[in-house]
């Protein structure tokens, strides 16, 4: 069902855990399946993401996308982190089954939520970042056959 990369990130998820006194924390839930993801960001004074951790209550795809997403934002600037879309995460994992596409949205949204938290705490505006939804109920992802 899952690609080798997905299985790898699922069985050995990178960056699991918490960051105490994190610069930003974002928790999002997926209304479609009830799954929940939380991302912790440690952002330095230059706006670089020094460290990132996650916790996920979700399926194999949710765990793997969390893991891959944290890998993709680690060491990046805020602007670059914003470019890490669910599609980028899926591509990096060599794809997900059609019914699991929505899982990858959790990761994207959780990063955005953590960045929003960071921005709010520091009273800054991040260009291109909108207030995150806490519940993702995206339009039906078209099944691809």
């Amino acid at each position: 069902m899952y690609t080798e990369k997905v299985m790898d990130h699922f069985s050995n998820p990178r960056n699991v855990g918490e960051i105490e006194n994190a610069s930003g924390v974002g928790t999002v839930g997926n209304a479609k399946c009830g799954d929940i993801m939380r991302i912790y960001l440690d952002i330095d004074d230059n706006g670089i993401i020094n460290d990132v951790k996650f916790k996920t209550f979700g399926c194999g795809a949710a765990v793997a996308t969390s893991s891959m997403a944290t890998e993709l934002v680690k060491g990046k600037g805020i602007k670059e982190a914003l470019q890490v879309t669910n599609k980028a995460v899926m591509d990096a994992l060599d794809g997900l089954p059609p019914v699991k596409v929505h899982c990858s949205l959790l990761a994207e949204e959780a990063i955005h939520a953590a960045l929003w938290d960071y921005a709010t705490k520091n009273n800054i505006v991040i260009e291109g970042l909108e207030k995150p939804k806490t519940d993702i109920s995206e339009e039906e992802v078209e099944e691809v056959y």
């Binding site: 299985m7 928790t27 916790k55 209550f57 979700g58």
Partner: protein, 398 residues
Amino acid sequence: MEKKIYLDNAATTKTRPAVVEAMLPFFTESFGNPSSVYELATQNKKAVDDARNTIANALKAEPFEIYFTAGGTESDNWAIKATAEAYGDKGNHIITSKIEHHAVLHTCEYLESKGFEVTYVDVDENGIIKLDELKKAIRPTTILISVMFANNEIGTVQPIKEIGQLAKENKILFHTDAVQAFGQLDMDVNDLNIDMLSASGHKLNGPKGIGFLYIRKGLKLKAFVHGGGQERHRRAGTENVPGIVGFGKAVEIAIETLKERQEKEIALRDRLINRVLSEIPYVRLNGHRTSRLPNNVNFSFQFIEGESLLIMLDMQNICASSGSACTSGSLDPSHVLLAIGLPHEIAHGSLRLTLCEDNTEEELDYVVEKIKEIVEKLRSMSPLYEDFIKISHIKEGI
């Protein structure tokens, strides 16, 4: 463990070698169409009749009350749709339960779209149908009660005799989906007042793609699949002779070994339940403690999600399920677990282990150890568990 430990016998079972053995001649030697005149075909007709007799005996029914189908799903569809069609002039109301298999539920929903009215009766926290609600649901227009013998997810066995009695007193037909129970539990259609009963070969170590519907004699049910005159003009299509023969063999063995399998599986089941409940925190047994299938165990582990649990078990060579296999791939939590009152996130963390007679204590001890490790690992990555621990600490004033 190198070897796979298969604990998903409610999804499907291994076909017994003796069953395959019995089927083989009907592929390449005695392969004729049983409806034909020549001798090659009459051998097949006899083999089909023998299987029908074996199955009828298992239910204390008559052979001509057994109609072969392509499986449990078709049997359920047939029983419910044909009753609606045949007795629709008497009334348009059907009663079923909230925890039926989708083969029953989706068929009832289809009939609702055709103007029928369906009452879905609640179950209690153990999954037992609320008989008082069932009684109250009966209307003058009720033509059918369809309640499953035993549930496929949580294993709860229903009070079939009481339901049959209720149906009889009120002159309502009673159908039971016995796909999980047939071959695991004793049943007598007369004693239990069952008018229609569905079963499926692959759930009792028989082949896939074969099932039957028992229809009590005298019911005016018509065909659901129209065509040739097979199955006494009630179910058209060239008979699946190897499938029928295999099904017959599987039933023969299941009935012969019923008692000893029950004893063995109940012992294994209870040991597994006791170990998990006592050794893992925040876990709940779903389904009734004693009125349950001998081979069914179903737990909810708080704070973790079922699919992740399954994949990790699979990596340890353990095959299990987190709901009914037919609906995995679906993202909704199981309707059965919701019906017994579990909140969404707990329903999500459910694990079904369904045994067979070949499982050993040693295997199950290994399984318990692996479940422990995996539950711990998944909880350590769960934001829900994190919150829970923090809140407990706050509550405990730490």
